[in-house]
Subunit: 300 residues, 2 copies
């Protein structure tokens, strides 16, 4: 597996699997109420890379689990990620017009429907993780633990908290403590939960779970720093969104606080730590290893 | 119990119990991030009547369950209700300045924090229902069923869907089908779920659960119609919010479509149906019976 592994093939195949599953789980175009469902689907099927669900599947695989058991939770993570993008883009928040190369949700459906589409995606995510009556492959206690883990990562002291501090810190003189709070919460928390929830559903033992937690922490923070760097030096075409927006918003970012060079060094150290965290895993962890490297090298 | 029962004492005691539990479950004033947590608490502790959690406890009681087992879910229902009020009041939605006699959340904390406070309350609700590791009084499968039930009631074809259709129908020529969709979703769905989740956690059998489902459907719709009527003829002082706002927004309501008289008759019929649904229950259903009558008679 190590020799033949192609990350681009892997990501492509897994993305197709996630897209297929999301289609199966989501209400159809003609479901009620039409505008709301269209708005939910517009952002969910906007060509996202599905990094969080793929990490969730890869963690389950590394822990020796069955991918099919993890698919609903993996898809729920993408719903939560999508809801957060819809709300973050609102005029009251980051006021972004462009996302993944298309007009943002509220630009197409209006602010009210965009807010509600986000709310509905978040709600549907928990519906999905909770499984189906009489058709549970996973121990119910593990599913409840996953719901707590993901809610914690997404909530007031997780993703939402990070976004709140991010917005409230705009234009303010930033310090390293605030930057750390934003970065470990806004993006890293849900990425870490993607890894730990996949491992938990796969029934990972305490030692494996602990190693994957550390891996998730490291790549989560790495992912956000890479995002900051791309916002400075990436191309609008590759990213499908406006670059330079962090600086113009006066956002507190790694490059803004530490400079680009130090940010790149920090990113590289974090990826090295992530690889070290899962050294003890066998070949089934190759996708996790390759994804850690990919975070450092990605252009979009 | 029947002879001595005082609904006002019951509601007061139960509200105190819910308030106490919410205080225990919620992050404290000094938790991070301060502004976000303050915004969440501002609306959650704004003096709500706690009707949904009280119904949840009363349903558990009627089904022979222990109230302590239901408290987390009861509080989660209030968090979901509160989040929906915060988002509904936003300028992009109903644009209301006053709620429970105080400025609405976004008037105090700004639109961005109000959106995030709502998101965080919704997320925290599912965290709470999923229980605590190693401290579960309820069968895990029942908790997962409750999460699905409540997510379904709160989601795209439930509360959020009802709100979407409500907003999109403003000023349009309404029909009875649309009105029914809005009313069974916007308010009734979560009230029904309050009843059924309490019963489910209490381990109610199929027959009892089915009776309580019907009761929940009937009082849920009754509650929304009573709300519509109060918006026409209630006093601003008693309600703590502006009255007549439905008419000025061109909202599709029962009074607008059927007139006040027919709306009152419909309300009265629904309450009679609800009482009939739970005829077979013993004295432990007295609170549910009295609450059904209270919905019809309430002034705020």
């Amino acid at each position: 597996m190590t020799i033949d592994f192609s990350l681009s093939d892997y990501l492509k195949t897994r993305k197709a699997m996630i897209d297929h599953a999301l289609e199966a789980y989501m209400p159809k175009e003609d479901a009620r109420p039409p505008v709301l469902v269209k708005a939910m689907r517009y952002s969910l099927f906007a060509g996202g890379k599905r990094i969080r669900p793929i990490l969730c599947l890869a963690a389950a695989e590394a822990a020796g689990g069955q991918i099919s058991d993890v698919l609903p939770t993996a898809c729920a993570l993408e719903m939560i990620h999508t809801y957060s993008l819809i709300h973050d883009d609102l005029p009251a928040m980051d006021n972004d017009d462009l996302r993944r190369g298309r007009p943002t949700n509220h630009k197409v459906f209006g602010d009210a429907v965009a807010i509600l589409a986000g709310d509905a995606l978040l709600t549907e995510a928990f519906h999905l993780i909770a499984g189906r009556a009489g058709n549970l492959q996973t121990a119910p206690l593990n599913l409840l633990a996953v719901i707590r883990d993901i809610a914690c990562a997404a909530g007031h002291d997780g993703m939402v908290g990070g976004q709140a501090v991010d917005i409230l810190s705009e234009g303010a003189a930033g310090d390293a403590g605030t930057l750390h709070y934003i970065h470990t919460r806004k993006t890293a928390a849900l990425i870490r939960a993607a890894v730990t929830s996949g491992a938990c559903i796969a029934g990972a033992g305490r030692e494996a779970l602990s190693a994957l937690e550390a891996y998730g922490d490291h790549i989560g923070l790495a992912f956000q720093i890479a995002d900051d760097i791309l916002n400075v030096e990436g191309s609008k075409e590759a990213l499908g969104k406006n670059t330079g927006s962090d600086a113009s918003h006066g956002k507190l970012t790694y490059p803004a606080l530490m400079g680009l060079e130090a940010s790149r060094n920090k990113l590289s150290t974090l990826v090295a730590c992530a690889l070290s965290d899962i050294e003890g895993f066998d070949g089934r962890a190759v996708p996790l290893r390759e994804m850690a490297k990919y975070i450092m090298e990605r252009k979009s």
